[in-house]
Symmetry: C2
Subunit: 380 residues, 2 copies
Amino acid sequence: MADIVKRLVVLGSTGSIGRQTLDIVRAFPERFKVIGLAAGSNIALLKEQVREFKPGFVYHQGEKEQPSGIYCRYISMEEMAALPEVDTVIIATSGGSGLSPTLAAIAAGKDIALSNKESLVSAGEIIMKEVRERSARILPIDSEHSAIWQCLEGETTPASRIILTASGGPFLNYSLDELAGVTAEQALKHPSWKMGKKVTIDSATLMNKGLEIIEAHWLFGIPFEKISVLVHPQSIVHSIVEFADGSSKAQLGCPDMRLPIQYALTYPERLPNPSLPKIDWSLVSHLDFQEPDMMAFPCLNLAVEAGKKGGTYPAVLCAADEVVVELFLDGKIGFMDIPSLIQSVLDEHQPTPHPTVEVITAADAWARNRVRRLVCGGGS
Amino acid sequence: MADIVKRLVVLGSTGSIGRQTLDIVRAFPERFKVIGLAAGSNIALLKEQVREFKPGFVYHQGEKEQPSGIYCRYISMEEMAALPEVDTVIIATSGGSGLSPTLAAIAAGKDIALSNKESLVSAGEIIMKEVRERSARILPIDSEHSAIWQCLEGETTPASRIILTASGGPFLNYSLDELAGVTAEQALKHPSWKMGKKVTIDSATLMNKGLEIIEAHWLFGIPFEKISVLVHPQSIVHSIVEFADGSSKAQLGCPDMRLPIQYALTYPERLPNPSLPKIDWSLVSHLDFQEPDMMAFPCLNLAVEAGKKGGTYPAVLCAADEVVVELFLDGKIGFMDIPSLIQSVLDEHQPTPHPTVEVITAADAWARNRVRRLVCGGGS
């Protein structure tokens, strides 16, 4: 890849992952060219990014047409993801908005650097089938999936077990009583990772880890029974892969999302980047591990069960979670209402096996609506 | 390799690594065929092994000719290592006796599963040059080097740093005063690994880790400045490789030499072996790390300095260490005499740069003689 410029589209460029992706682009101006940028709400930052990276194409969720002060071509995320001049599409949008551009990028046979969990969780079966048929590639950006990918690289034998590490979030070792009273402000203070609000709350409930289990299942073709979770508060070991001979490999690094982002963009190469931190082993006297508390963090099991049942259940899980997290952030529900509301919606759901995108979209809409009615009233 | 029987020669078959190698052969009778066995002193066990594995060829150090009761052909280790029908030569002899058969196996273009450290330490330059010229392969059996090898597999970018883990041995955190009084019996009680006597004492002095640094330098072509040591008492993380992007990979496993032995024999495959233990993460609450105490364990630096100076220094280091360890095991010298005697011999040595095998052999003999004279008297 030494002399080849990789041409990128960054969907969700003003979010946490999008901004860090552009940090990596900035670090290697001779390696990357930004072809398109798409943002959800932060028009001011998008304008700055357009001035700096001079993409040919732009999209902004809030605008129906070309926003003033932006002079590149205004097209949809789906069109952007399929542009013939694009090599890699970075999907860093949050929530359900990632699915449609992901499918467009796959249909166009692109490399997809995927940070958006929800698309793979809701529509993993469809996505992986399309990936195989279109010879597209999914390059995971999540630190855990990047770790697994790095550990599997060069192996000729499949993993016999995957162990996803979890920081445990800000409420590790809290009792159920203590958890009932925690606030959004407390939940947003993640001990090791700096991330967007939605994923930070999902980390506090361990829903994030549950979604990652479903993601890992699809990305690496591993049955749920062979994926487990280990709480590791320091977030230095990003995941562990165990092999049939009893050997395990782990990927380690400082908790900095720019590392998995850079790996996805430069794979299979690794480029020296002085701005990325290295582990200082003189400061690491111990790495701690403990089993997750399934009683205190029921979201983890909710996700695993939804993943195992399959069909439209994971889409309902994702959509319900997105709405309940918003309600929690708005102070409308308590922390322990998050799992109970999701549980209620899952219990009520009439699933469809092997759903189409349309059926998934309908299940998603149903779940969002159902959560709002459960919380705000109005009957079923 | 699924349908191919790998034909093996095991040199040092009655030692700790040799016996564990035959355990792996026993676990996969359809995969391996033992062509030759060679042992140093334990004739009774060698006879048992011959009865069980029915090799065509045998060698025993103590015998000038065919020992009674063994009916296969009696040939030298060098002849055995070069037999045309052999695929892989396992070099599990201890000390200086490994060099000559290693060179014979390389000259014959074999795969060499190398457990003997001393040959690579003493003659790394010659060995690696021959390996390149003869298209032989060295497959490390040491747990640390196997770990590095596993972590580098599939990587297209070289390691930026290698971190060899060390258990710290039975005297971790001992003061210099405490170390002066320790006995051979105490030193032989290794906290995590079950190994031969020589390597167990070398682990207690950290000389073993020093030799491994020199080994890693030659095996992976890494400068000494980029190899460091981290004490990790649990011996679960077997080594760590750091890359230019700040990512690190570690290989982990229960401390059981059969794992790296099997990996070397089945590489690039990994075979399920129910008799090999897997890490039970519910029992691992923490992994500890600390910097090595260079004052209390001067052998580590002696080795690194000998490695950096090169020439005949590493051969002198190895030979002197072999003799002082014997003297310590016989109760003739104290624990802290080990580094001081080796230091004295190194200080007196007149080095030869880029030595031939003959020069290395002469330096080895000089060093052994010099240690004995320093301890038992008789002038220089």
